[in-house]
């Protein structure tokens, strides 16, 4: 259900609907003084205290961390890890490379493993194929990825590459599954006002479970 529609149509308590709509405005009727974070909150979409705003401004004002070549490699690797399939789009469709650029500035501890891992990968490819990863052909790229994408069967001398690819897989997946495309793909359908009425009947049956009489009597239910 469309979020906007669900807020309008669901009756949840006496004041909630008004309050959610009201919350989008500034303190018009509030008896209390405005927060210092308020103006910025409207701009960024999230409530932030002033120290957080200063940190974000710092991050935003930094020059790009990854070079254009590194970003190109990240984009290729990202789409190998999360390609477009029958259900949803790819990592680059979900703008995962942009997320990677932000998160390494926000979490500087990621910078060295990623930048160093990318260089490790390029050197491997240079030795094998006389080209950095992004200039290799698709067959070569996949050959290289297969050397580092399978932790249990990778050759011991590939261990640094495996560690790098594990990090890439986890970060790309985080970027993807927290995007609008990814949330839809994985099927998270919460984050909307609703009334919890318990596990659906067919699901209870599937797992051979049932609510007890005590639960049905005591718990809140909605018709």
């Amino acid at each position: 259900m469309d979020r906007r529609k669900s807020i309008k149509t669901l009756v949840i308590g006496g004041i909630s609907i008004g309050a959610i709509a009201e919350a989008c405005k500034l303190h018009e009727n509030s008896p209390v003084p405005p927060t210092s974070a308020e103006k910025e909150a409207v701009v960024s979409g999230l409530n932030r205290m002033k120290e957080e705003i200063a940190h974000l401004k710092n991050v935003d004002s930094e020059p790009a961390f990854f070079s254009p070549e590194e970003m190109a490699t990240i984009t290729i690797l990202g789409d190998i890890i999360i390609p477009r399939d029958a259900v949803s789009g790819s990592a680059s469709d979900a703008k995962v490379p942009d997320f990677m650029e932000f998160i390494v500035k926000d979490k500087p501890e990621l910078q060295t493993p990623l930048q160093g891992g990318l260089r490790w990968l390029d050197l491997q490819c240079l030795t094998r194929y006389s080209n950095p990863f992004k200039a290799c052909d698709l067959k070569q790229q996949m050959e290289m990825v297969d050397e580092i994408a399978w932790p249990k069967k990778a050759k011991p001398e590939m261990s640094q590459g495996v560690a790098f690819f594990n990090l890439m897989r986890n970060l790309v997946a985080t970027g993807f599954y927290t995007s609008e495309i990814g949330v839809k793909d994985v099927g998270y359908i919460g984050n909307v006002p609703n009334q919890w009425n318990g596990v659906p009947e067919d699901v209870l049956r599937q797992y051979n479970l049932a609510y007890s009489e005590k639960e049905l009597k005591e718990c809140v239910s909605f018709s």
Partner: protein, 579 residues
Amino acid sequence: MGDLQVLKQPKKYDAVIVGSGAGGGMAAYVLAHAGLKVCLLEAGPMFDPKIDSNQLKNPWESPRRGASTKFRPFGDFDGCYWGWEIDGEPYTHVGDTKWEWWRARMLGGRTNHWGRISLRFGPLDFKRKSIDGLGDDWPIGYEDVKPYYDKIDRMLGVFGTNEGLFNDPDGIFLPPPKPRLHELFIKRAGKNVGVPVIPSRLSILTKQINKERGACFFCAQCGRSCKVYGDFSSSSCLVIPALKTGNVDLVTNAMAREVLTDRDGLATGISYINKENMQEYQVSGRTVILAASACESARLLMNSKSTRHPNGLANSSDVVGRYLHDSTGADMGGIIPELFDRKRYNEDGVGGMHVYSPWWLDNKKLDFPRGYHIEYGGGFGMPLYGFNWGIENLNGAYKIKGQQKEAGGYGASLKEDYRYFFGAHVGMAGRGEAIARRESLCEIDPNVVDKYGIPVLRFNTSYTDYEINQAKHMKETFSEILHSMGAVVTWGGDDGKENNYGLHAPGNIIHEAGTVRMGNDPKNSPLNKWSQAHDCKNLFCVDGGPFVSQADKNITWTILALSMRTSEYIVDELKKQNI
């Protein structure tokens, strides 16, 4: 600094309250509604959940996708400002001892960070020394606090069920939500292994209780604070209503420096620094009520030295800062193969567990003296930073749609794996009672000040075999429950003697208490049974400080009840002109 001066507020208040969390918020609420004039000091900025909550934001609306920062250790959407460290406000440790100190800096204080778990202490919890000889009995009992628990149940709202358990007293409950799917698995497993699993008791409005607050709409995001005030937070339920009486002047960004006293040794007010302009202020009141958190209140007292109070205010007993203790904690998690490839539906529910396990055993038969309760988590959660991190340890270990895969990988097959595992995780956390000991303490560091020039706390706390044996028992229980529900342990299963069975560092569970404890004997307690200082009759403390022991129950509900009790006492004593 040439023109540094102290500005004195001309207005004299009936009470100056330091801190706007559960204790301070309740004191402001009770006093303001009794017509008293209150000045409420808060060290952080204004926060009104109606306006400031990050509720219903989607993960992609955070550039860091909800990842934690030092500003918000529980993630970018979390409602609490600051946490384990605050820029410019250090704290120190003796040797390699550990204490992790959580500090919220905002209106509502630490009620912006809690699971809304609202448990009454039971009759036994006030008299532990009489049972096991350890620590001390409280100078009051359950019968003294029960009327206040009843009042706050009605006033603030809490769901749960009356189970007739002697030491987990019944209350005035709203109906609880039905268990989620993984919680039904937990219930069944609990039955098999003899661990009771009952509806949780959370301060969330499953039904509307008054015109000012809406009912819960089941988004599972109490941790972000609630725009309709559908859960308890000191800001929404206490301070903002108190402000509406017109009897409270709220001063935000006001960092208390010390409690001021006169020649007779009585409290006259508070000196504080305005963090925005670094200007020094003094505000005076007929009473001073500390509610800055157990450790901050102890720090204030120890920093308030005078000729009459050379060892710090209310500290002739030398007990302030001592008996510092936190809840114990140990955790474990797993994955339930039976839940792989689950049907999707919205199971957000309330912002917390729908079921929990109260302590169920007799400590006389165990090698640790105090109990613990178990909190549960799991199911379909909103994907956030770290979503299924470490899938390479998972996707080679199980058949996925009937097919055994190689661990790791990439591509369409990997995307299938993420879908397959979503919603199959389950976790559990034990929260137990530690023994309050005289030698576990915080004190003033003789060498270090914060950026405001206020001497900081130095911690010196430790655990004993009692807490370690309890953590071991927690782990054994978790393992049994997980096994019985057909789950495979994925984390927390490797802890052993070498790391105290995964027992968290003290402070980590964010239930600090005991530093300004109450007692009948002024020689070993700073406060009397009304949380009134033995040495200074117009000084009170209403946070976790007065706790003699903290049970295996989260302490917020008891902070609220005791603060209400003390606040009514203050109103009465002021009327009688006893203070």
